[in-house]
């Protein structure tokens, strides 16, 4: 197949958009599915949707991770009928903190930090962001911080598992011809200042 450089670039942009749309769709599906599962306590959820944010971060960079997370929370909350409810703000705070921590860590550490470390950091960030929001806005009682240790422990385990899943998915995706122009493991992140 022969095509000009401009066409390759257009194709690449199109591919990136399609993959990000697929990631977002999968993230919304996981987000919604997770909310339907019974959980022993509110907030004890494995955060499977974060796998897709990690994939977007490693394949397409921080901006892509942000769009997957924010679109996932907006669409997922809309589907669950909890847009602008307290639960939405908790999810938003968690998602924003997690993504900020993950993109920040990736920008600082680059390829020295793999998907497992990023995912574990993101999970911890999610817990802290969510509890901060819960404490400041929803519950306004310092008692919520007593949930922190258990939530952190749970998030560390979930983050490790999610990170390992993201790692295997990344290995597979990178072998696919459609991914040959995405960011390679050895590539430094784009100039972030």
């Amino acid at each position: 197949m022969t095509c000009s450089a401009a066409e390759t670039q257009t194709l690449e942009r199109l591919r990136r958009r399609i993959f990000l749309a697929l990631f977002t769709a999968l993230a919304v599906a996981l987000h919604t599915l997770e909310a339907l599962f019974p959980s022993p306590l509110p907030w004890f959820r494995p955060g499977l949707a974060n796998i897709l944010t990690v994939l977007a971060l490693f394949l397409y960079g921080g901006g892509a991770a942000w769009s997957v997370t924010l679109a996932r929370i907006a669409i997922g909350s809309l589907l669950l009928g909890q847009l602008f409810s307290p639960g939405f703000f908790l999810a938003l705070a968690g998602g924003v903190t997690a993504t900020a921590v993950m993109t920040g860590a990736e920008a600082v550490a680059g390829r020295r930090l793999g998907p497992v470390g990023i995912s574990a950091l993101g999970a911890a960030g999610h817990v802290v962001g969510q509890l901060l929001m819960a404490w400041l806005v929803v519950v306004r009682h310092p008692g919520v911080w007593r949930l922190l240790p258990l939530l952190l422990l749970f998030s560390l385990l979930a983050g490790l598992i999610n990170g390992l899943v993201a790692d295997s998915l990344l290995r597979r995706l990178r072998q696919h011809p459609a991914m040959k122009n995405s960011r390679k493991p050895g590539q430094e992140p784009e100039a972030t200042g």
Partner: protein
């Protein structure tokens, strides 16, 4: 081994991050699992109340169980078991208990030490499901 293969999927920095997070978890457990300080100590054997004392006053009590005497010390608002005839001595490792809801148990000697009082247990967050 499967675990080793998983380990190889992490970079050194990943491992450092995981280690630091694990330390943070342990630290947060130490700092935050506390809760309201307890006021009274209750000792039960086979579900019957055996003994009760305020945590504020320092004292030493000898409690009798099927195996013999278990010695409990209350000091500075906390209770711990200092001597026990049981084989594993797990109850010595459990102390001190000072917060509402804390438990010390010596299963072989059938003793259960509970801490009570000091405000309501933290139930606020149960109201918030989503």
């Amino acid at each position: 081994m499967a675990l080793k293969r998983l380990w190889q999927r992490t970079t050194p920095l990943d491992r450092l991050v995981i280690g630091l997070l694990a330390i943070a978890v342990l630290f947060s457990f130490r700092l935050l699992t506390g809760g309201e300080p307890g006021e009274r100590l209750l000792v039960e054997r086979d579900g019957r109340l055996l003994f009760t004392a305020p945590l504020a006053a320092d004292r030493e009590v000898s409690l009798s169980g099927p195996l013999g005497q278990t010695v409990l010390v209350i000091r500075q608002g906390g209770a711990r078991i200092v001597r026990s005839p049981c084989p594993h001595q797990d109850c010595l490792a459990m102390g001190p208990a000072r917060h509402h809801g804390d438990l010390l148990a010596c299963v072989p000697n059938r003793l259960l030490v509970r801490i009570e009082g000091g405000g309501s247990p933290p139930t606020d967050y149960d109201l918030l499901s989503r």
